[in-house]
């Protein structure tokens, strides 16, 4: 195989672990030293290690134990092999977690008590002591030196036995009796030390006065005592080298998540991030703690991502917030947190299935987890301060556990909380901090802040981002009927109506909301309506009116799971077909779906520009997940957003629907020029007056259809990342999760193709899909609605990954789903 082919066998996520050495390719998949394709935290499978072997602490004969599977050939002389073949080999089933074997149990035990380092230091010290006493004896042959030498040597040798037994255990559980150089040296040296020790003791037992004599036996006796010093130095040196190897090769601080010689066969995500989840009832203050923590972590220089899932109720229930902390940008949520703070018992029941073996759980007494601080946070808060302050108490605990300075949190609290709240909350925070310091809990270190990052980091949620996009698009009116999860945009623009000229009205229903916005556009404004699926269903007729009268329109449709009332506060991408097919009759429309916060702004602007330019309704599809998640965003230069106006002054002979080549007639507004502006929902002639002349009808149908083609030409291409032959295709809010999952899979065959301009699709933009061997569509719905749209465009979809449980895709679980589908191709 070629180097390129070799790189696919990187040992990750079920792929085999191959390495090349001196022209041969070895299969190291079975080696415990190469779990997840990584060796000692410094080498990765899938590459040629010929040069690296020279620096290895072991000889190349370690490879003798492994099977040679192929020869490494120069890519220029490679014989083409179908890529499929490679992936079949590369994707052996991921072994899911089995019950712990005896070895794995010992491994766990060893990790906690690490007996070898504990026992090894005594014999080392005693061997040194014995040798020192013996040297003293040479200078002053008195009995106390002789006795000291002998008993120290005796103790050293006996304790050495224990150290050796522990060493053998370590050799087994941690290194699988691997014959790497350091271990082999340690083994021989230890045996030598033991034998020499036993001979020395034996000589002393036969002749207790041997130290004073001049015999060969006496020389050997003294020699045995002195020679063990260099031998324990060798033992200690290689022991230290094995232990500290990783620290030497990479920065210890950043290495908190380096693969341990782990027994777990599940997918290990090696990412520099830490995921905190906080659970509690509605109204218990988890929103406050989320706000405090995200701001504090950002002030410390971390990059954060936060998301929430909540029940459709104002009080009680179980809600969670998730905060991911990293040294780089993150744009997706995880299923399993590293740390879970349960403010009440119910929250633990709620997240039970999301707690992994490595998750540190703080709080809750009814449930049990492997890594669990079993306390009632509310009781502890009550004991130290008061039950109401459980959220800041918990925040203090969290900072202590993460070994972060509490002063930063206090500063942040002072900035975020009202002044009369400071004293009590800071006390709660300090009490929590101190309390946690008394608790024994192991926790991963946080990633190190990347100081080179741009100082000016911006954070925004999808709701606010959409709002700014609409503002940039010149939106100056919003008329809506409140509906979760869309209401945030209505509230944002209402809040902005003091700074900008924005006409805001809460309509009596969605039908009125849409029709008011049409009135706004007709009158010269740029109107928006915000809604969710149920409300949009009511707007269906108005979509058609916008299409027929060619009155521009923008609808912000934040999806939630249906049908009917569905799950009002949760997420889904289930309304694509609704947006696509809403409204009777045939007319042009645009559907946009932002994939992240930056796109949320850009598409907000584009929605208004395109609606105005083509005189069509535009549906901006967001969802609860995107709307409620906070992510980093680069600084946006609003000067770059064009502020075009497409309204023309009318002449006295103005015709609203004048036929021309483009299908787009000049749009004027009342009282702007000498003409009259007549719009009609009936089929109309160029003047906007009712007609039933079939030729006029035909011309008008073609006019509206022609607009669709013009619009198609203006389409934005999907984002293509990577050039693999398996395309993971998504649309809208799944962008971040798919992107993270692909980067975790680290399989060069995978490429991400992501759509944010959903309809109408342009043929040229689908060429990449035609060229791609396999297509897997990822959608947050159960009917694969976008895959259907692709099929209508003659795209062959090989597989779909669908989810409609009310959650967005999590990067850590999506990894496994993609790996599974890739195997099945």
């Amino acid at each position: 195989m070629t180097l390129e082919e070799l790189s696919r066998f990187n040992g990750k996520n079920g792929a085999k672990a191959y390495v090349a050495y001196k022209g041969l390719v070895y299969d190291l998949t079975s080696s415990d030293m190469w779990e997840e394709g990584e060796h000692q935290g410094s080498h990765e499978a899938g590459v040629d290690l010929t040069e690296a072997m020279g620096d290895a602490p072991h000889a190349d004969d370690v490879l003798k134990n492994f099977r040679v599977v192929d020869k490494l050939v120069d890519s220029s002389s490679k014989i083409l092999r179908p890529k499929q073949e490679a992936i079949v080999e590369a994707t052996e089933p991921l072994s899911t977690k089995e019950t712990l074997s005896a070895k794995e149990k010992w491994h766990n035990w060893y990790q906690i008590y690490h007996p070898h380092p504990v026992t090894a230091h005594f014999p080392i010290v005693l061997h040194f002591f014995a040798a020192a006493m013996d040297i003293a004896f040479f200078f002053s042959p008195v009995e106390k030196f002789e006795q000291g030498t002998y008993y120290a040597f005796l103790a050293a040798t006996l304790l050495g036995l224990f150290a050796m037994s522990a060493g053998v255990l370590s050799w087994w559980v941690n290194y699988n009796f691997s014959m790497i150089r350091a271990l082999v040296i340690k083994l021989y040296t230890a045996i030598f030390t033991l034998i020499v020790g036993m001979i020395g003791i034996y000589l002393h037992i036969i002749d207790p006065m041997i130290a004073y004599k001049d015999s060969i036996g006496a020389i050997f006796y003294h020699f045995s005592i002195l020679i063990t010093v260099p031998s324990v130095i060798i033992l200690g040196y290689y022991g230290g080298r094995l232990t500290w190897w990783r620290a030497k090769t990479s920065d210890e601080e950043t290495n908190f998540n380096a693969p341990k010689p782990n027994h777990s066969k599940t997918v290990v995500l090696s990412q520099n991030d830490f995921t905190i989840m906080i659970g509690g009832s509605a109204g218990s203050g988890i929103k406050t703690i989320e706000d405090l923590l995200t701001h504090t972590f950002v002030s410390m220089g971390y990059s954060i991502f936060s998301t929430k899932e909540y029940m459709s109720r104002v009080r009680g229930g179980s809600n969670t917030v998730q905060i991911r902390i990293s040294d780089k940008d993150i744009r997706s949520a995880k299923w399993k947190p590293d740390l879970f703070l349960g403010l009440d018992e119910a929250s633990l029941l709620h997240v039970k299935e999301r707690i992994g073996d490595d998750t540190l759980v703080i709080g809750g007494q009814n449930e049990s987890f492997s890594n669990h601080l079993k306390i009632s946070l509310q009781e502890e808060a009550k004991k130290h301060v008061s039950k109401q302050l459980v959220n800041t108490f918990a925040a203090g605990m969290l900072f202590a556990l993460l070994k972060l300075p509490k002063e930063v949190l206090e500063e942040s609290l002072k900035k975020r909380f009202k002044e009369d709240m400071h004293e009590a909350n800071i006390k709660a925070l300090q009490e929590g901090y101190m309390y946690a310091q008394t608790q024994k809990s192991e926790i991963k270190k946080l990633p190190v802040v990347d100081k080179s990052r741009d100082k000016e980091v911006h954070y925004i949620d999808g709701t606010t981002a959409a709002g700014f996009g609409f503002l940039a698009g010149g939106c100056n009116s919003v008329t809506s009927y409140p509906m979760s999860p869309s209401t945030g945009v209505l509230a944002f623009l209402a809040g902005m109506s003091k700074e900008f000229d924005i006409a805001v009205e809460q309509a009596e229903d969605e039908i009125a909301a849409f029709n008011m916005a049409l009135g706004v556009w007709y009158g010269g404004g740029r109107g928006l309506t915000t809604t969710s699926g149920g409300g949009f269903a009511l707007m269906s007729e108005s979509m058609s009116l916008s299409g027929m009268t060619e009155t521009p329109m923008v609808v912000y449709l934040a999806q939630r799971p249906g049908p009917a009332t569905g799950l009002p506060t949760r997420t889904e991408q289930g309304d694509l077909n609704l947006a696509l097919y809403s409204g009777h009759g045939e007319f042009a429309r645009l559907i946009l779906a932002p994939g992240d916060a930056l796109e949320a702004i850009e598409l907000g602007h584009l929605a208004f520009e395109t609606a105005d330019r083509f005189q069509i309704p535009v549906v901006y599809l967001s969802d609860q997940y995107l709307a409620d998640s906070v992510q980093s965003i680069p600084k946006v230069d609003f000067e770059l957003f064009s502020q075009n106006r497409y309204i023309s002054k009318s002449e006295s002979d103005y015709l609203r629907y004048k036929l021309n080549d483009s299908g787009i007639s000049e749009r004027s507004i009342p009282a702007y020029g000498e003409g009259l502006v007549c719009c009609d929902s009936d089929e109309h002639d160029e003047r906007g007056q009712i007609t039933e002349l079939y030729k006029v009808r035909e011309a008008m149908v073609q006019k509206r259809k022609h607009k669709l083609e013009q619009l198609r030409d203006a389409a934005i291409a999907p984002r293509i990342m990577g050039d693999g032959d398996i395309a993971i295709v998504g649309w809208g809010s799944t962008k971040g999760a798919i992107s993270e999952a692909i980067s975790l899979l680290d399989n060069s065959r995978l490429a991400q193709i992501h759509f944010s301009w959903i309809y109408p699709l342009k043929k040229e933009h689908l060429l990449k899909l035609h060229d791609t061997k396999h297509i897997i569509v990822v959608e947050n719905n159960s009917n694969a609605q976008f895959a259907d749209l692709l099929k209508l465009n003659d795209i062959k979809v090989d597989a779909t990954i669908l989810q409609s449980n009310g959650f967005a895709f999590f990067s850590d679980t999506l990894v496994e789903k993609i790996a599974q589908k890739v195997r099945e191709l």
């Binding site: 100056n476 008329t479 009135g519 010269g524 609003f638 507004i669 502006v677």
Partner: protein
């Protein structure tokens, strides 16, 4: 007769003798006498025979969906408060399909003229009961006669504290003109329910029936500032009272909308200040 506001290049679809003609004539005369510029007037309508009126007028027009004229009219006033906006339609359009919008428009006090042609029947769909159909009125659908209580738009509007409520009968031309003119001059929402016979589908509520079942309120006997007596009059049926029931000046929707700043003449002429957007963005996003 000067018909400056009459449109001559469209084909009228009403039946000969339809009461709508009378209303159309009155409207053109009122608009002319008010000396308004036709470019400044927008007629918004829904669907129905009455909703076709804007097609026959030489003004700006938005002929939308059945029942939806009021929200569109509201939106137009939001975008450009200086336009004279009229929402016009029939009883089925405005009180039936658009009933919810009617309630809200009254409450909002949008500065529009709301003209409802009330012929107590559905004309466009050929003769079914409308919300204002009288009990016992038989149709092909209501075969045993209408059983629902007729909708009382006057009393409903009064109960919502409407700022101008009137009823007219198109046959009383000068009376109707006077009321319409007052409605146009009124600042705030003005409802004019206009009786109008349907000669084809309503054989019960004929010209004669309307004449016999209505009377003009004496201006000296009815205090249009007194809502209680207005409500008493509104409760009267057979005969129905005609004239302005009630009138009050109160803050309009548009005045509330732009209360904390100077109302822009039209949203069209203003653009958002990009620097202000940038400033707000930084304020929101820098943690």
């Amino acid at each position: 007769m000067n018909k400056e506001f009459m449109r001559h290049d469209t084909d009228n679809a009403w039946c000969p003798g339809c009461g709508n003609f009378g209303i159309l004539n009155i409207l053109t005369e009122v608009l002319q006498e008010l000396e308004v510029k036709k470019q400044d007037i927008v007629f918004v309508s829904g669907i129905g025979q009455a909703a076709k009126t804007p097609h026959y007028l030489d003004v700006n027009m938005f002929n939308g969906l059945h029942g939806r004229a009021l929200p569109v009219a509201t939106g137009i006033k939001m975008a450009n408060p200086e336009l004279i906006v009229v929402a016009e339609g029939g009883d089925g359009d405005m009180y039936g399909e658009g009933g919810n919008h009617f309630l809200s428009a009254v409450r909002r006090n949008v500065n529009i003229v709301h003209i409802v042609h009330n012929n107590m029947v559905y004309g466009l769909t050929k003769g079914q009961a409308s919300p204002t159909s009288q009990r016992e009125f038989k149709t092909k659908v209501q075969v045993n006669g209408v059983s629902n209580e007729p909708f009382n738009p006057i009393l409903t509007a009064l109960s919502l504290n409407a700022s101008f409520v009137a009823r007219a009968y198109m046959q009383n031309k000068e009376h109707t003109k006077g009321i319409l003119k007052a409605a146009f001059l009124h600042k705030g929402y003005a409802l004019i329910d206009i009786f109008q016979p349907c000669v084809t589908f309503n054989s019960l509520n004929t010209y004669e029936w309307f004449s016999q079942n209505s009377y003009m309120m004496d201006e000296n006997e009815h205090d249009i500032l007194d809502i209680s007596s207005a409500m008493d009059r509104a409760r009267e049926t057979h005969p129905f009272a005609l004239g302005i029931f009630y009138k009050q000046e109160r803050k309009t929707f548009e005045e509330y909308l732009w209360s904390d700043k100077k109302s822009p003449k039209s949203l069209h002429v203003k653009k958002h200040d990009i620097k202000e957007i940038q400033k707000q963005f930084d304020r929101y996003t820098i943690y």
